[in-house]
């Protein structure tokens, strides 16, 4: 057998995949519901351009998960945006090689 390609092309693909699978396994939503929502996002994105199954695929995945979590009231869009900014600031102020943490 030829050597397999990497399972996930980027670390954030893996994180996102794991987060979604974990939420499903914890019973937060069922998989057919997830698949239906994800299919709808993919179809929408696919209208604008041809998706290559890499980053754009997981971008659609992320958009679907964000919308689902906001709808359930678990992660509101504004809270996510604030947290994202907090992480970005943390990455920018952390010296290279040090672990990145939110409390700086």
């Amino acid at each position: 057998m030829t050597r397999p390609e990497p399972v996930f092309e980027a670390p954030w693909h893996a994180q996102l995949f794991a987060l979604t699978v974990h939420l499903n396994e914890a019973g937060r939503f069922d998989w057919p519901d997830w698949a239906a929502r994800f299919s709808a996002t993919l179809a929408e994105h696919g209208l604008a351009r041809e998706l290559n199954g890499g980053d754009d695929y997981f971008a659609a995945w992320l958009e679907t998960l964000e919308a689902l979590l906001a709808e359930k009231g678990w992660a509101e869009a504004t809270a996510v945006a604030e947290m994202r900014d907090a992480w970005e600031a943390a990455y920018l102020r952390t010296p290279h090689g040090d672990p990145v943490t939110l409390d700086g």
Partner: protein
């Protein structure tokens, strides 16, 4: 960082366990992959009773081997013969038999494959270097969140007497999606 933000918020609310995420990533990166599916196929080639049971109720049979779906999906095994070649796609998203094949390759998730597999399966097969006799019908199975398919490729000639472990090496990921054939020994 958007994923990171979601993780932080959900962890703070006690909705997720960050250690579980690492465990899931480790499982899919290191422990689950096409070798699982190859194991099932090699056994089906070697053991007629197993093959019959697999074709009747794949979910039960592969669960017994420890390959069960984390999403509670139903597994169906479809067997290639001289008369029929089976090929799997998910036209809506990218449903795939994770426990048996791991995470799908990029092309499986691409619009091009998802759209063309149904419309022009023979051309797609040709792109993968597979040309079938005109007398072989091509059947395309559309996976869903509830049903995932595993193709049992045809056992190559000249493999009589090979044991399960040796046979496993002939079973490629693509041969179990139906976009390839099992390797010749």
């Amino acid at each position: 960082m958007r994923v990171r933000a979601l993780e932080t918020i959900l962890t703070e609310k006690g909705l997720i366990d960050p250690a579980a995420l690492d465990e899931i990533i480790d499982t899919y990166e290191n422990r689950i992959g096409p070798r699982n599916g190859a194991h099932v196929v090699a056994r089906a080639w070697s053991d007629p009773a197993f093959r019959t049971a697999l074709l009747e109720d794949a979910t039960a049979v592969v669960s017994e081997l420890g390959y069960y779906g984390r999403q509670g999906e139903h597994m169906v095994a479809v067997e290639n013969t001289d008369a029929v070649h089976n090929m799997v796609v998910c036209t809506l998203c990218s449903c795939y038999p994770w426990p048996l094949l791991g995470i799908p390759p990029g092309w499986y998730k691409s619009d091009a494959y998802r759209a063309r597999a149904v419309r022009e399966p023979r051309k797609v097969l040709a792109d993968f270097g597979v040309t079938l006799p005109e007398t072989t019908a091509v059947r395309v199975w559309d996976s869903t969140a509830e049903v995932r398919y595993l193709v049992i490729p045809q056992r190559p000639a000249g493999t009589e007497g090979m044991d399960e472990a040796a046979l496993m090496d002939l079973v490629t990921r693509d041969s179990m999606i139906g976009t390839g054939l099992a390797l010749n020994p």
